[in-house]
Subunit: 125 residues, 2 copies
DNA sequence: GACATTGTACTAGTGAACTAGTACAATAGT
DNA sequence: ACTATTGTACTAGTTCACTAGTACAATGTC
């Protein structure tokens, strides 16, 4: 995962990446996130930036934080729903781009198939 | 089209939007783009920002500029290829997100269908 | 109680992006 | 030659994001 300022603020990209960790089960409800200073080192950003990341996740209701203890995935997070929400957002973006280009759904799906077949994935084997 | 600093630099978003205009035929090869000051007004940005936009489009080989005359879509731009490239980039983003979420191609396609059916498009009628 | 770990607040600084404004250079039309 | 139109360069400023560093507060362990 590469942080790229041309794709928006770093802290939002990182918040998205942590959300993916939760969505795919790398982190479970109740799990503790890496401490601020540890994540800062891992991603080579400033600890204050990670504080912003964790603040954003808290605002989105995904985590809760306690000074002196850490930041935790909320117990009531529905991982499957989170995953579906992230994927549907990506799907919506794709369809919106097709719409903005004046293309039909069929044309969008055809383009998708071309990309699928161009990549070495299990969808192609 | 909404310019949102949280999605990266304004000038890159605008460059993408102009590229869409070309890709869907709103602007044809040889056509002149709106003058810098006019586009600035339309999108409520600074003319210097539009100069950056046009600079980026020139760097990408989509337009060429002449002081005193204007900025033009290059005659040799292949509109269909440009459209395909933009859509495939969007498709690749979508698939990459599915991959990052640890999902199979089938699951990705299912999520896409859900979004399709949730929207009032011709694909659903 | 001391210590380690964790989050937080703050100051001061840097850099990129964007803005406002002015003025100049090239081109085209009359 | 003059004017209008277009792009460009520049200065000076603001804002936001990020950084580096320091120090404090809360929590948990021993």
């Amino acid at each position: 995962m590469k942080l790229d300022p041309s794709r928006g603020p770093i802290y939002l990209q990182l918040a998205q990446e942590i959300t993916r960790w939760i969505a795919r089960g790398d982190l479970q409800p109740g799990d503790r996130l890496p401490p601020v200073r540890e994540l800062a080192k891992r991603f080579r950003v400033n600890p204050n930036t990670v504080v912003q990341v964790y603040g954003e996740l808290e605002r989105q209701g995904i985590t809760h934080t306690q000074r002196g203890r850490g930041t935790f995935v909320r117990e009531d997070v529905e991982v499957a729903a989170l995953r579906r929400a992230l994927l549907q957002e990506a799907a919506a973006s794709f369809l919106e781009e097709a719409r903005a280009l004046g293309l039909t759904l069929e044309e969008a799906m055809a383009a998708l198939q071309e990309v699928v077949h161009a990549r070495p994935t299990e969808g192609d084997r």
